[in-house]
Symmetry: C2
Subunit: 794 residues, 2 copies
């Protein structure tokens, strides 16, 4: 069933499976911050200022001919210090005296809307739940990311217009999924921070905001978490207190380039500082990140951007980081370092005392709120109902294209890891029943992942199979973490009674979540035991591996009786339908892993807080770029149902002078490093007998520049829509100079002269030989360091 008919068939307003409001947001009260109250604004509607008849009428903030920052500044200047301070926190009460309504900075939109005022029924009782980003990105389809962002922002604007949502979102989450134990890796586009996270960031931000440098931002995106945040609780080390030592080389090459892309190239209007410290300074009190990199190097001030703390992170500057001697000082240094808005309540309580203790000045407090309001001014907050996007309503949420795209994203992300020909399932007179077994077999909420929107329906694998022409024998079998085998027999019985077996398991939020890292990356509970028993029944067995992080599937890979293995991530509200449609061959898989499936021992080989990516000591290197071990399934791995022949199209080699490249005009590009250098082209022919999408990753490797060199690194992706048997298409990937850069020890991103290969996929089926001549050329220098004593503090 295609998604368009799916939505109609299920009945848009009478969904087959109603989702429960099962939000499990992080409980801050358990994490050492006694003052951060539970978020309360979701119980009251928001509103827009009335510039026509309210107290603000006729004031500068309502004057659309004045530049945004000046309008915001004029508004803030009308407030008392107390009024300013009260509004520097996420749940801002507004200024009733001035007709400034309450505003909630904290809105989430990771893969659909959360954290908004949601009545129990009627308009806005649901919005679309897309797959988790890690699955959507596995599609290799950047247009899809853009479509999703466009839909989410439309729904967000509609909710905002209805008083249920703000004009900014604390999304996306773009930290590199470096350590496989990270509980929030599911929220990210994977482990390739330099290229893929940047690409994802660009598409998400520009689609959510309505373009690059839009006159009116559709929705302001607050990219997060800046920087170095990629662990929650590993080995009992809280994210709130982690202090990561990161070299300039890895900061520039891995931990910050996606933020640079978000701010400098995509012009994100917001950024969130992280809980953790880097090199001794807490994320929200680090002027190197929040001023030097963000504002000086990346030009954040030019786009009226604001910084929000992660929720509770201002408090964390004091406890546990102790980068300030007390909460008052922590509030002051966080704001002075550049954290404009406190997601929390520290600023509300401690900024005025801080001023009285001569730790901060009024102008800095005013500036912080002005930055927030400058963005709201740009977004039309003060411009009345006729301004752009203010006509979006619930009717714009109730559209089938949103449901279609959610379904489509799930289909496109599904990644086939192993297949001996078992898939797609071939239904016939003799093969008509399926045993559907496992903790995800009847999953609903489990399919959504964290930061879960509440959709109008969730289609479980069981519901989708039941809606198909297969006979289904369902058995729960075991839970994700179960040790007891009480359900095994029922499962085995169901399997014995069926022609084929599908096991749906993996990991869920009970094992990977915000505030919850994994301690190992093995299959949890007794799932492997059950799968092993199922595999001994002599029937075709497919294993569906749900969850954001990879689990070591060595046992499944090596077991010839496990015929197929497919990674399903968190596929969203139509996830079950997508899975069943791919299993049944209605759709063909073409996803590729955006993380490495490491063997289980990997996470025990080194301290997961060790951020040095390059191999050293007992650490075999981190991410596919540096990992010297043998992955179970490699980054970029993904099988098709059909076979493709790939051959060179166009040039297969080229020589370019770097200096000339970097010296050229770059008319249609803001930055010269984005001008396409090579257009890699391959002719791809479907040599099998099934329709299939084609997906591609293009990797670079080189002998140029100083060692150590990465094994390879990603420089391009592509996805081509359905290619019929015998059909072919040309995969065309533009490679700009910038993606060939590598960070040196000083943190400068350098393109070195020498020999490069651009190779298609892990199989290197097509290779382009690239020679760069001339001098090594920097793409971006790491900031100059202040000399000792040059600051007047002698």
């Amino acid at each position: 069933m295609q998604a368009a008919t799916l939505a109609a068939g299920l009945g848009l307003l009478a969904p087959a499976v109603l989702a429960q409001n099962n939000q499990s947001y992080y409980d801050y009260t358990t994490n050492g911050n006694p003052q951060l109250d539970q978020r309360t604004l979701a119980t009251i509607p928001l509103g827009f200022p009335d510039c026509d008849n309210g107290p603000l009428a006729g004031t500068t903030v309502c004057n659309t001919s004045v530049p945004a920052y000046q309008r915001a500044s004029a508004l803030v200047s009308m407030m008392t210090l107390e009024e300013v301070v009260n509004n520097t926190v996420n749940t801002a009460p507004g200024v009733p005296r001035l007709g400034v309504p309450p505003y909630e900075v904290w809105n989430e939109a990771l893969h659909g809307l959360t954290h908004f005022y949601q009545p129990d029924n009627g308009s806005f009782s649901w919005t679309t739940a897309f797959p988790q980003p890690i699955l959507s990105m596995a599609s290799m389809n950047r247009s899809l990311i853009h479509q999703i962002g466009d839909i989410i922002s439309t729904q967000a604007r509609a909710a905002s217009n209805a008083g249920r949502y703000g004009l900014d979102v604390y999304s996306p989450n773009i930290n590199g999924f470096r350590s496989p134990v990270w509980g929030r890796g599911q929220e990210t586009p994977g482990e390739d921070a330099f290229f893929l996270s940047s690409l994802y960031t660009y598409e998400y931000v520009t689609s959510m905001q309505g373009g690059v440098n839009p006159v009116v931002p559709k929705m302001e995106t607050v990219i997060k978490h800046f920087a170095g945040y990629d662990l929650e609780t590993w080995h009992g080390h809280s994210r709130l207190g982690n202090d990561l030592n990161i070299t300039a080389q890895n900061l520039a090459g891995y931990f910050t380039p996606q933020f640079k892309t978000g701010i400098q190239y995509a012009k994100a209007k917001g950024i969130m500082c992280a809980y953790n410290a880097v090199n001794g300074e807490a994320g929200c009190s680090d002027p190197f990140f929040l001023q030097t990199l963000l504002r000086e190097e990346w030009g954040f001030d030019k786009q009226n951007g604001f910084v929000s703390s992660d929720c509770g992170a201002v408090y964390s500057v004091f406890n546990p980081h102790m980068d300030a001697p007390n909460r008052t000082a922590a509030a002051a240094i966080a704001m002075r370092a550049g954290t404009d808005i406190d997601c929390g309540t520290e600023y509300a309580y401690y900024l005025t005392p801080a001023l009285n203790e001569q730790l901060i000045d009024r102008a800095t407090i005013d500036r912080a709120l002005t930055r927030l309001y400058a963005g709201l001014v740009e977004a039309g907050y003060f411009d009345g109902n006729s301004s752009m996007y203010r006509d979006l309503t619930w009717d714009d949420v109730v559209r089938t294209d949103a449901l279609n795209i959610s379904y489509e994203a799930a289909v496109e992300g599904l990644t086939l890891l192993k297949n001996d020909g078992n898939l797609p399932l071939k239904k016939s007179h003799d093969c008509k029943s399926v045993a559907l077994i496992g903790p995800f077999a009847n999953a609903t909420d489990q399919l959504i992942g964290d930061y879960a929107p509440t959709p109008n329906y969730i289609i479980s694998p069981l519901a989708a199979f039941e809606d198909s022409d297969w006979e289904v024998n369902y058995a729960f079998g075991t839970g994700v973490l179960w040790r007891n085998t009480s359900g095994f027999e029922e499962a085995l019985e169901a399997a014995r009674n069926s022609d084929v077996i599908v096991y749906a398991g993996g990991i869920d939020l009970t094992i990977e979540d915000e505030a919850l890292d994994r301690e190992n990356i093995t299959w949890p509970g007794n799932q492997l035991q059950l799968i092993n028993q199922l595999s001994q029944l002599g029937k075709p067995l497919t294993v569906l591996q749900f969850g954001g992080g990879q689990v070591d599937g060595t046992a499944l890979k090596n077991n010839d009786n496990v015929n197929s293995l497919m990674w399903c991530g968190y596929p969203g509200q139509s996830g079950g339908q997508a899975v069943v449609d791919v299993l049944s061959g209605k759709r063909a898989p073409a996803g590729r892993l955006v993380t490495t499936q490491y063997p289980a021992e990997y996470v025990n080989q080194f301290d997961q807080r060790d951020t040095e990516l390059q191999p050293h000591g007992s650490c075999p290197g981190q991410t596919y770029m540096w990992y010297t071990g043998e992955p179970v399934y490699a980054f970029g791995h993904g099988l098709f149902y059909t076979t493709f022949d790939e051959e060179v199209a166009g040039n297969s080699s080229g020589t370019f002078n770097i200096t000339e490249l970097v010296s050229q005009p770059h008319d249609d590009y803001e930055y010269v490093e984005h001008v396409p250098l090579v257009t890699f082209e391959a002719k791809v022919t479907n040599t099998g007998d099934m329709d299939s999408d084609y997906s591609a990753m293009l990797f670079a490797n080189t002998t140029s520049g100083p060692a150590p060199r990465p094994i390879k690194w990603l420089v391009g992706i592509d996805r081509e829509a359905t290619i019929p048997p015998g059909g072919s298409c040309t995969v065309s990937i533009e490679v700009p100079l910038g993606v060939l850069a590598r960070a040196n020890e000083a943190g400068d991103l350098i393109v070195y002269p020498g020999e490069y290969e651009l190779a298609l996929n892990n199989e290197r089926s097509v290779v382009y030989s690239l020679t760069l001549t001339g001098n090594a050329v920097p793409i971006a220098m790491w900031p100059l360091q202040l000399e000792e004593g040059a600051t007047g503090n002698m």
Copy 2:
């Protein structure tokens, strides 16, 4: 003769005294920079881009609906690296291929236009020469400063429209006139950097630019020299190599607040980094000044501002500062630190090599030029002839108000230091001849000072006297620096033949100039010897003391036969007329010294490069705020011809809570520290028998806060126009909270609770008792310092 009739009487286009084009600009070739060519652009006309028919037509830079920075960025993106690099220097060749005309960044407008393409005759062969700022500021008339700036910018725009001038000026010079030996103190508004230099900067910038945050800047002002520049060649120490140790306290309290005012409050579009180093880092390669203070703290990026080096200062980063190992590195670190434009040629020669040596990236080079062009875009450079200010022509230069204001500024600045009743001169049947003696008696160019505009006429004192009804006996007498007495006898003879004697001497550009400090502050040459001989003739003797810096007049002060002493600064093109009109009583003096006249030994008591203002060691303290010795004539000293009675008007005391003050709304003010706190009012009655202007300085002193405390500091000025005998007026000076702040050792500007007095003039004739309660409150914090290792360089 009033100025209006003066101009007419002299004939606007047939001036009585034609100025010679006697520009003596600093010769860079003598200062160790072999590459900095003499400025050549003054020989070619400039022009505006043609957005209608040129190659740029239809491109983004010509699209007026796009924000300025994006327009500029689009322009720069069309250029090759070579084209970009070529235009990052002051004499920019433009890009012929793209129809971008040459542009000259270096235009000067200190007290009238210089450095522009000036034909020998006809239109723009002259423009108005105002007095040097140090004299104009002595008027205590902030409106006058504003009028002057408004006229200069009109003339600059007219010259720009004629292709003879740019759209920015390397003015004003706002370094504090700390050391009296400084050769360029004449260019400044004096020694009170915290209040008076800030006030001057605000008026100059907002008048030149056409307002605060104007939609179209009239003329972009590049305030200079940032920071700590206030010596040229003292004791053989070149400004190019000076490295001043300045505490955070004095940086915040003295060396930078006027720049803060210029950038943050007045929104100057440009700033110039200085030759000298501060605390080990050359001015043009110091990210603390050029990024942290300027862009982070003061918000320079918000106003599309650009930084220019002082001319040759990029080279100085290498030699003599050695803050870079060679010229290539110097160019790179200067630009990376935030110096966008090189007044010089280093960038043109060394940026491309720097990129090839991986010292800088293309984006940073592009950004630098984009910043310059963003300002030009704002100023309408690409907007065609119909844009604002493009209708100004030579007719707008040929206006008598410019000449009137130049005359008026001279009159208002003249400062009477001593007078026993001799002045004004009382012409009568028995007293009708004047002996006019000395090196300034027939001065023309000498009246202008440095950065000399070429006016249509210059009225020497001799010419003005000859144009009066006095009989004049002129004798040169001696030169400024002469040791030979060959002219004495002629002078004495002239004096003997006259009823009154006027000696016009002092110092000129042969002793104080750019690249020329004084080694002592005594009267130079044998002038005192001649004056002494003149004083023994038994005739009324007036000494006119020309020049910007003060000279120790102890001998004149103590000599009862020197009846009058008047400081005349560099009074500009009508200076002689102004002097004679004041001497003759047609106008009355009301100027006040904006520098301290120190005794001669002062400059030998400590190293003039010692920037610690507070008394220490052999240094008796610097500026009137800290000087513990006895000045010859104090800062603020200035006599009237009439007598004034000053008495309290309104309140004479008040108590305010600082916390409440800083917590109030500040609606009509961008910053709360500018909201008036006290309106100091005094009733001033002319109790003498002559018309006179009245001028006032208001000083604060306090026992609050930590020691050491300044003796007093300036918090307000005023000038009231002509008050007739018996007449009175109310002097009203608004004192905002911000001017009561003092910098603490950390560099934070703090207002302390406690007792203050606001006292009128040095005489303290009216005192307002101010009590501040509550907590000490910061007005502006010094920037947070980065912690060791927090920058990724581990």
